[in-house]
Amino acid sequence: MRVALMVTCVNDAMFPDTGKAVVRLLRRLGVDVDFPTGQTCCGQPMVNTGYLDEAVPVVRTFVHAFAGYDAVVTPSGSCAGSARHQHSIVARRSGDAGLEKAVAEVSPNVYELSEFLVDVLGVADVGAYFPHTITYHPTCHSLRMLGVGDRPMRLLRQVRGMRIKELPAAEQCCGFGGTFALKNSDTSVAMGNDKARHVGETGAEILVAGDNSCLMHIGGMLSRQRSGVRVMHLAEVLASTEDADPPMHPVEAHPVDASRSDIGGRV
């Protein structure tokens, strides 16, 4: 099986540790995952803002990068939803029959990470160890557009050493919504504030979700509110083992410093 990682533009540019975690996790499970370097973005920022013409070249780049793979795995429910549900709309708009055909071939092969693990690999216990107290937010597109259901929780429940606190009003949107967060920032923040409050109510150390874009929003609010709660992608939790706990402050090579102690220490 030829498996490609679709890392997503947000993870590529802002959260590379999530991509690295997917690679580590899949290799541990015996999947030799490839990263087609021609990939960029799924085009959702354009599509959801109404710029369909602008999305056409992005979708073309997408199908070109991922053609020929049996499975395309992505650590994002939202981007998987974009590929599976919106690329055909963009292709139809382009009037390019070749692009429509390419989309019809590629988009059904796109899997959100928990779908790939549970449905394709058939695993629930990925051998992870993560000795922390977490709470889990099911992101809207993974829940309602893809219908991942309880797959992420089935995976999380098998993680050794981890305690899971139930998130109140878990299924309500965090308010990110792509460009909604900028165009209607006041409403977005009002929604995010309630989500952050619910996260705080759980007493968890870490909020876990399957979409870093939503986590960037909720985590940004948790940070501004000096809540002492961090956010982490599902992939990073599942990639953790006794030997490879994720670094405390990822993506920076600096040694741990004293400022860490006042921002939510480890259990």
Binding site: L182, T187, V231, R260
Partner: protein, 492 residues
């Protein structure tokens, strides 16, 4: 009533005002939370709920496909049973028809059943210009009317008011409209309902003309259907000598068997009840019983425009249950006024642009963007309107309507630039190198860190300020994922 939605600002601006209203926020969180829980409970009781949703969507879609046929059949059956059928292309025509009926009977007042269609065409304002007072008799509509307020919810127009505010409105304004509220009125729901009952009964018994909408119009039997909870609707439908019903042309169902499906879906979706207390049906004139002069105004007012929209026409399936409002996280926080229409919430965000057309005014064009696309509305909709997909399609229509602008918006230029960067992996890699450099420059030196330890980026200028105004942002990493992959082959 002088309050009007005309001239409302675009959604983000109107929302800002609403979000700052703590009483509104508290009232809405309480009310939508309560009704959400009720709905979830009674929907879960129905084993074949999904089948009912599919059936309802199918019936509506098939009916809309042959709308002309069904409308003509409705007209024939109504006419045969003594009703007078009028066709109104727009709001002005519909209002004129109703006003002419009222004037032909020399009345200076009418009583009204709560009706979205008459709110849409601003019938009360049109009648007022003719010197005819239109009294709202639905309790919530009465509260809105007496308070010189605007409705903010399809089912519960006064959802933004709590009982203390309602008491105040009754005490201050009831006297000017008829029987005053008792001086010792408290905010107990039973006392408030009693004051409204006495105030309204006087109007029911006096009025010669009633005006209603209709939830459904059954084509083969020529039957109009009003579904309600209070019984005030039935008073309006039965006591006056003359009844005028304004009904959108999409409200039609072919047969009584079709109606069955919707009467199962509507109460559970709207009030969270297994069955609504009052379902009134009438087919033309019944000699010696009820109104002896019955008019039906079939209203287009943009519905045929919506019907012509390939993606958007599914909005015409809407049965005005308001389930989408109650589950919407945006509506829950902004309330209905921010949408600038009698149709607020997710359905309003698509229905208003579909009825009015996009690219005409900034307020209407802002509505398709008044959503985080979370999909809760689609999940709750009893007729399976895929509201998120319609929103995205309408956003494209808004953008397309501005493609010819001489001075493109900054957003349009930004989207073109982003699309260019996303055109190839190489270009994106170069952009990421630049952002990593910017991150190192801005993120340096003793600044705060996010929980977890990443360095914080400072406040952003320009459009980015909308983000960093309330949310911290980590500095871009020194090395992007693709740079890491290139350096290590994925084995770093």
């Amino acid at each position: 009533m002088s309050a009007t939605f005309v001239g409302m600002p675009a959604f983000p601006v109107a929302a800002r005002t609403a979000l700052a209203d703590t009483q509104l926020r508290a009232n809405l969180a309480h009310a939508t939370g309560t009704i959400r829980a009720k709905r979830a409970k009674v929907v879960a009781e129905v084993d074949n709920w999904e089948e009912l949703r599919l059936a309802a969507a199918g019936i509506k879609d098939n009916t809309l496909l042959h709308l002309e046929e069904h409308l003509v059949r409705l007209e024939e059956s109504l006419t045969r049973q003594g009703a007078v059928v009028h066709w109104a292309r727009d709001a002005a025509e519909a209002c004129t028809i109703v006003a002419d009926v009222a004037k032909s009977h020399g009345v200076d007042e009418v009583v009204k059943v709560k009706s979205m269609a008459t709110g849409e065409i601003e019938l009360n304002e049109a009648l007022a210009k003719e010197g005819i007072a239109a009294w709202e008799t639905d309790l919530a509509e009465l509260i809105v009317q007496l308070g010189d307020d605007l409705p903010s919810h399809i089912l519960v127009p006064a959802i933004h008011r709590n009982r203390a505010e309602i008491r105040e409105i009754f005490l201050s304004h009831m006297a000017a409209a008829g029987r005053p509220a008792p001086d010792d009125l408290t905010d107990e729901p039973a006392r408030l309902a009693d004051a409204a009952r006495l105030h309204l009964r006087e109007k029911f018994l006096r009025a010669k003309v009633g005006v209603s909408g209709a939830n459904f119009a059954v084509a083969d039997s020529g039957t109009l259907v009003v579904v309600e909870s209070e019984g005030n609707g039935r008073m309006c439908l039965t006591l006056p000598e003359v009844l005028v019903t304004v009904v959108g042309i999409e409200k039609i169902v072919p047969t009584w068997a079709d109606l069955d499906v919707f009467l199962q879906l509507l109460p559970r979706s709207s009030t969270g009840e297994r069955m609504n207390p009052y379902t009134s049906t009438w087919s033309g004139v019944t000699p010696g019983d009820g109104p002896q002069e019955v008019h039906v105004v079939l209203l287009d007012n943009g519905r045929t425009r919506a019907l012509a929209d390939d993606v958007g026409r599914q909005a015409l399936r809407c049965i005005r249950c308001s389930a989408c409002l109650n589950v919407c996280p945006v509506y829950e926080r902004t309330g209905g006024h921010a949408y600038g229409s009698v149709y607020p919430g997710p359905i309003g965000a698509i229905l208003n642009p579909l009825l009015k057309g996009v690219g005409v005014d900034a307020q209407t064009d802002s509505l398709p963007y008044a959503s985080s696309l979370c999909g809760a509305c689609f999940e709750a909709c009893p007729v399976r309107i895929d509201i998120p997909s319609v929103l995205v399609d309408l956003r494209a229509q808004v953008v397309d309507s501005h493609r010819g602008d001489r001075f493109p918006k900054a957003e349009a230029l930004a989207m073109k630039a982003t699309a260019l960067a996303f055109g190839s992996g190489g270009r994106l890699g170069a952009a990421e190198k630049a952002s990593g450099l910017v991150g190192r420059l801005l993120g340096g030196g003793g600044r705060r860190r996010l929980p977890g330890g990443r360095k914080l980026l400072g406040r952003l200028p320009g459009p980015g300020a909308a983000w960093t105004d309330a949310r911290d942002l980590p500095t871009p990493p020194a090395e992007s994922f693709r740079a890491w992959w290139k350096r290590t082959g994925g084995r770093g």
